[in-house]
């Protein structure tokens, strides 16, 4: 599975975009410039980007409450994202949704979802539609380890296994459902084991290794597109920051966090690029600078955008 230089650079740029976007959001939060709450994706970038790299632009994804990474990886406009987080009329959801509801129909992103496991049956239904319409599209369904214990996980994967739907379920196991460690919430050691119940392959990947993620997802996507059905991929990873802005992280140690930071997916990818390609440090540095500028532009766009009008409060309730 050869990755072109262009693709590798795209993957690197998307990871950097996610990292810098999230750090900027964290900064804005601390300045009380973002209303409500926010779940940041720092540390998990390789999963979203590796997975989306395996999709066509018109394929679908469903995302989660921790959705900024998936949304950026699928190609979202950072300006419209930042504007949404600041509650502006120019945001993806015109300020009606905020962090947990960002949707970008133009990139096939059926949306983040504030309900744990919210995207699982939705992705299954999108895949059912693809099968009925024979449109050859594949849907990736991102969800967390906590969602794997919701009832619809079972209902949906059973249907997907039964009907051989073109969907790839990617469980981002970041070890904690809010504060609850997987060992205290989940009867099996590996969530991927559950695939057996649904007659589909269950695959475990190192979620901090973007190339490994890409390869596993590509295989699953190709399989789905060939009409051979769904796959459950468990991507083992770690969120560097708290669950949300109010999380003091009392349920895990700083040592554990440091151990995982050593497995930084971006640093690892830099090393990979250095060792296996002719991409230079300068090229990567240039990308970092370019992204930094993009984030600043996104912030300026958002901060200078208008709020939605109160008179439009009841707009968009019905189609």
């Amino acid at each position: 599975m050869e990755l072109s230089k262009e693709k590798l650079l795209w993957m690197y740029q998307k990871m950097v975009e996610i990292r810098q976007f999230e750090l900027k959001v964290d900064e804005l939060f601390k300045k009380n410039m973002i209303w409500g709450t926010c779940h940041l994706y720092v540390g998990e970038e390789a999963t979203a980007v590796g997975a989306c790299a395996a999709l066509n632009p018109d394929d679908y994804i469903t995302s989660t409450h921790r959705g900024h990474g998936h949304t950026i990886a699928k190609g979202a406009d950072l300006k419209k994202m930042m504007a949404e987080l600041l509650g502006k009329e120019t945001g993806y959801c015109k300020g009606r949704g905020g962090s947990m509801h960002i949707v970008d129909v133009s990139t096939g992103n059926l949306g983040a979802n504030g309900i744990v496991a919210g995207g699982i049956p939705i992705a299954t239904g999108a895949a059912l539609a693809s099968k009925l319409k024979k449109d050859n599209k594949v849907t990736i369904c991102f969800f967390g380890d906590g969602a794997a214990n919701e009832g619809v996980f079972h209902e949906s994967l059973n249907m997907a296994g039964l009907w051989k739907l073109p969907v790839v379920y990617i469980c981002e196991n970041n070890l904690y459902g809010m504060s609850n460690p997987v060992s205290k919430s989940t009867a099996v050691k590996d969530i991927a084991q559950r695939a057996e119940s649904y007659n589909m392959p269950g695959v475990i990947v190192d979620g901090n290794d973007i190339v490994e993620v890409y390869k596993a997802v590509k295989e699953a996507v190709d399989r789905a597109r060939r009409g051979e059905g769904a796959t459950l991929i468990e991507s083992k990873t770690y969120r560097w920051l708290g669950h949300s802005k109010s999380d003091p992280r009392v349920y895990r140690t700083r040592e554990e966090e440091e151990e995982w930071k050593k497995k930084d997916p971006i640093k690892r990818f830099e090393k990979y690029l250095e060792e296996t390609t002719d991409i230079t440090k300068d090229e990567l540095e240039e990308i970092n600078k370019k992204v930094e500028q993009e984030i600043e532009e996104a912030y300026q766009f958002a901060i200078n955008s208008p709020d939605p009008r109160v008179e439009d409060l009841a707009k968009y309730v019905y189609a």
Partner: protein, 325 residues
Amino acid sequence: MTEKLYIDALAEAIREEFDRDPNVFMMGEDIGIYGGAFGVTKGMYEKYKDKLIETPISEAGIVGAAVGAALVGMRPIVEIMFSDFLTLPMEWIVNQAAKLRYMTGGQLKVPMVIRTPMGSGTGAAAQHSQSFPAIFAHIPGLKVVMPATPYDVKGLLKAAVRDDNPVLFFEHKLLYWTKGEVPEEDYIVPIGKAEIKREGKDITIIAGSITVPRSLEAAEELKTYGIDAEVIDIKSLSPLDEETIVKSVIKTGKILIVEDDNKNYGWGAEVLSKLVESEAFDYLDYPIQRLAGKNVPIPYNPQLERAAVPQTEDIVQKVRSIFDK
């Protein structure tokens, strides 16, 4: 026009929508060769095998998947075997289908219909007999209809399928085997429009679903007491047709609301509040009356079951008491 059974008019609407739009399909339990628990899809399987997605017993998964299919351009009709089971996919109706358009600033739409039989009178007891469409009428983003006649069930189903919003479609089980005139041609009964099913000048009876035929029957009997009742079929709980009910009340000055749902926080309370807030209030010459189900789960014993929801004789008695006759 030919006379048809409610259930046949409904099936005809489904078949015609299947033929009209390749994106229309149906999901539900036992809807294939078996024809659905109440026989709505009976005989369709051979011709519409690809349109009838027979599902496992997974109500949350089914409705959630229908939402997903609707987001990408399909127009699913979901059959939930008994409306009592709507508690299982509540999340997918309330948090997803109803809210996705709003919270994405109008980017998404969820054109789907959830059809479901409701109501008592079959001895199925508390978990297979409740009528609770009002619960859904409380939720912004949903539309809620409950056709009472064969004509309306065909026209409203078509309207629901063609609507770009999630529509909850309640079919009272005792209506399935009632007959009425149904045209062969394609027609729509608009969502959000009530209809005066019987004109009268003395009192307005506002009914919905099964209480429509009961109110019409009661109105005939009331003639013998010299009372000329107007009967309005509310048809849609959301959106609610305030205009038709306000006009009627201005004409008659008296109102009785008859609900099959149990009374507390029922749809009749909403109708009442709309009337009190409207110009009709000045025309009322008698306190607004409500007749609704008792605030109990539906019991098994046939006498108790019958007593739990308003029957024709209850409506007659109530109206007579208003007129001291």
